[in-house]
Symmetry: D2
Subunit: 349 residues, 4 copies
């Protein structure tokens, strides 16, 4: 690749947008040349329009970009990452797709539409075929989405078990505060506390999991017919969603076989050597008390999901703990990996 | 009651022992007159032998007690609470029971012995009948126990559902650091973190729950034949174990019927007006984001279990969140309530 | 006192207002019969207008009150506590004072006005004489104020040293999140972190301390001519502001003399046995590692200031640590104690 | 440099030792080939002798080393970093120095000895000349030390002010839990709390600061005759010691001059381009609420000290906040930078 592909970020000044800016810095294929935000910010330098909330400092090259408003045209690059707030993402993402852009979105708005792929590149790279179905909308471009942050941790943690036929899932999350954005969770609510509720999260986890693990059926995805129940909690952790999972399988398998499935798991992003793909997409930790968010969320640059404590479940078949970095593998990194998968399929040409 | 009943505490200088000291202060029936601890402490004033770790200051009357060593005789009162460490509880508790004491223990050592009741007064007051079976050991006294702190929160949270026939339980705990004693969990392990493992806890929760909900069968308890799976986690919370629960029931019941069962729940300790009994043993909170440990663990002086978020479970029948104060209802308060139940049955005469 | 004195709270639905509601519950002299809030809330039941953020549940009697708008008249009682937000307190408090109410305010707005007393009843009860000077404003009533929460902890911690002539103060605060109200400090800013800045706080501490320790001079307070420097920090603590203090004194005094001054300190509220007065207004803790906010902020119902670690300072004369409960002694409790002082002076007749 | 210099770590299996292992990984000049620990560990593989407590995983090459006992001889390399516990460091470090090793120690034991340099390479590189004075002990080698972690943050934060003549310092620390090692601070003591005491820390800060800023006088260091007072606190932060500082200066200087001194500050390690030297040893942050430990401690790989909030002090001359990473710049990184300075002086030949 002689010249990098220019990319833009919709909603670049917000907290998720900042994660995109940070994650894209130094990317071998993509170069951020366009930052879109609200009318209030448009025309300002990115540095002036943005309260930088992440560790370290704002990348200098991006700081100097002039913020555009979120409308197609005016030199916006074809590949557009969306970090739009849900309150405005529906219309804006559609407008860009209609105008010929490939919108790779982290927003929830289009995830469950029939012809929109909800991608986890290790699990369902074939779902990219759905993009063709979007042609019937009269769009010159298309929209692809990544799942909710807790869903990514769960589905990646379950991915090695898919060959055994996943039939039942009960999952309890312990989610980091960075998942709620900024200002997000008031400290008076979460310091030394647990909040056993995250609005809309349980329904998202249940329905997204079935779609992600479903089957491509021409113009839609046939959801996996697995029963799924989520309990979602917020805990005083900065980064990293931890999930305890009990799972029931169609096929009998020994603990050793299940463990081997985890240890040997690899998939398309690894085989194609995509730049953001973790070497071990699902990293099994043998210690009795891992994974832990503060110690393990950043492994493989936050792009792998760590799993531990695999054991038999007295109710379903097996149980384990999994953990994913919610703002990297669960958001910006997920979208960038989706775009890399699309590039590897020739979809960015 | 004209004169209070004298009581002792075995292991009075440790953290659990301190919880007994604090909880018994001002008790209308019982008066702490005897504090037992290791040889190292025996002979010292309680104030000198104890590093007080709880909020507020040590009760003055107890501060002045001379610590005894943990051997029967020498004026030790009949009713003896045990806060002994598991490493020494087996022999010491037996010695006191043999010598005629009623040992009301918070230690795990004898909980699962066939002829030892594992009491939750709201759930299984009839299990007290097991004490008679201990006669065949040649003991003049007896041992009664309360469950592990996380088991209390779970079983109390499930108690209103027992009439519907509990068949399956999957529970995930988020447990407070005070459950691990002092010095307990190193701050480097838990600050801003989750530890998805507590040694031995899951097995204890699974087996204790079945015994607590079991049936008195003359010389033993027939465990409840329910399948039970626990996932135990430590979270950065000071007091209060939170548990997410999915439960399968034998009898069909509507959500309204289940909710009514929670709202109307009461039991023997309430009917007998035992001094430490909470008015509402299971307090259902209607807010969408409760119970929360920092805000709800201390309700009813830490003696009730709070429940919230009752809803249908896509895998089992219902799911909910419950919360109990681990060092009060889950330890010292549990043992004292057990002793009050025993008194109300005439067992302290 | 046969019949309690009726009182109202301006800004009763906010977080500070809730602290007043909670603190006044069961008060032996005062009964909350009137709750004022914004137009948006007026006419609603207090229970419907208020998101209760404090531990435990809303007092039932208050829950049933109908919220009034914050205008004088309509049966508003004479004694009015103000928990108004600073953005609106200036005009509203004046209107009530003008109309004949005694406004006992926790808001910062009038604290530094020349004829308004800034009261700490243990330190400057004579400053109440300033109320007379407000007559020249044409007001039928008056305004009295209490200091900023961190200033209370500091000045009470310094009070026993006033006889030695305080000349220089350097103080560093570590302030709890509850001091910032709700939603207040975002958890992403403070979890596992220190924020070395609180807007306006250092100036408030410096200037308020000089006024509180100043001398009544007929129609104004002559500030204490002490040099004072504050460093203010936010730390991840729920309740309780901790302050490290180095102090320079005019009079030579030995460490033993200074310590005795702390141990023997008492003042007017104690002598008059005011209902909210702590028995020990400044409680000196001899342990080497106290006071600590989570363990000591609630002593004496949160109304005393705890002090520890008194020792010589190599730069100034002495140094120590002090701690006060910011929402009790630093806000609602401070105002109620002010009103009790006023009652004891016959100012509520 | 064709071949790397072999180095060893005394006390390599402990928490500080692990910091050395991690910090040395990939070092361009030094290669860790020798790990010393207690008799209990000697003979085992490093991986088997060590409970790895740091983020990420143990470097593979080190994991395979066989642990030696801490005695000179047997192929121990000349350059030896010491992470020994204070209880054993005195004798062991002396034995190595006597036998010809250059011991670059993080332990407190020899810091205050007259002929041992207490180095901060930016501040007192000339103190290395003291090593010659150690010859009179009959040693073939020598000992050099780095300061206590909180002292490094303070002295680096003050370094740009040294030309103005530092005369008075009052500092309050808010120190991270990682400074206390493992298991270190019990979570029950620090979660949601402040501990206003760290044993021995204040005396260390006061005396070390004077030595570090002192003048080389042939066979000893003439301490800086500045008055210095420290208040040391532990706060619930993982990494990074924050310090508020008020400072009195001999020479009058405007705020602009002081600010310029910070912005232009550089020193010997930067001029010599030492591999671990931060580009900006003292990084001034202009935002009103920085530095913050969670967001700024890792800047420049944890090797710079960040400073902010420079302003006039009403008592002394100026005040500011500074922050340093306690286990990197305050421990392992400090020692490695000391060794790099020694190499640049030809002392490792």
């Amino acid at each position: 690749m002689n010249k990098k592909i220019e990319v833009g970020v919709l909603g670049a000044t917000g907290m998720v947008g900042q994660s995109f800016v940070k994650f894209l810095e130094g990317h071998p294929w993509f170069e951020l040349t366009w930052a879109g935000a609200s009318d209030r910010s448009a025309g300002k330098k990115y540095a002036d329009a943005t309260s930088w909330r992440l560790d370290g400092s704002m990348p200098e090259r991006v700081a100097a970009l002039t913020v555009s408003d979120c409308k197609p045209g005016n030199g916006a690059p074809k590949l557009m990452f969306s970090a739009m707030d849900a309150s405005v993402a529906t219309e804006i993402e559609r407008a860009f797709a209609e105008a010929g852009h490939l919108v790779v979105s982290n927003s929830k708005n289009h995830r469950m539409e029939l012809d929109v792929p909800l991608l986890v590149p290790e699990i369902n790279p074939d779902h990219l075929q759905l993009l063709a179905a979007q042609k019937s909308r009269g769009w010159k471009g298309a929209i692809a989405t990544n799942p909710n942050c807790s869903t990514v941790a769960l589905t990646m943690g379950l991915a090695p078990l898919m060959p055994f036929g996943i039939q039942t899932i009960i999952a309890t999350t312990m989610q980091a505060i960075s998942g709620a954005g900024y200002p997000g969770v008031p400290s008076l609510d979460i310091l030394g506390n647990v909040i056993p509720f995250i609005g809309g999260e349980e329904a998202k986890m249940e329905i997204e999991t079935q779609k992600i693990m479903g089957t491509f059926a021409g113009d839609h995805i046939q959801p996996l017919p697995a029963k799924m129940s989520a309990h979602c909690n917020r805990v005083p952790v900065v980064d990293g969603h931890t999930v305890t999972v009990s799972v029931g399988l169609r096929d009998k398998a020994s603990l050793a076989e299940i463990l081997a499935a985890y240890q040997n798991y690899t998939s398309v992003p690894q085989q194609r050597n995509l730049p953001s793909a973790p070497k071990k997409p699902v990293l099994y930790l043998p210690e009795e008390n891992r994974p832990q968010p503060r110690r393990d969320a950043f492994r493989e640059n936050g792009m792998c999901v760590t799993v531990g404590r695999l054991r038999e479940c007295p109710v379903l078949d097996y149980k384990f703990v999994c953990l994913g970095h919610n703002t990297i593998r669960g958001a910006a990194g997920a979208a960038v990996l989706n775009a890399e998968l699309m590039y590897s399929e020739g979809l960015l040409d």
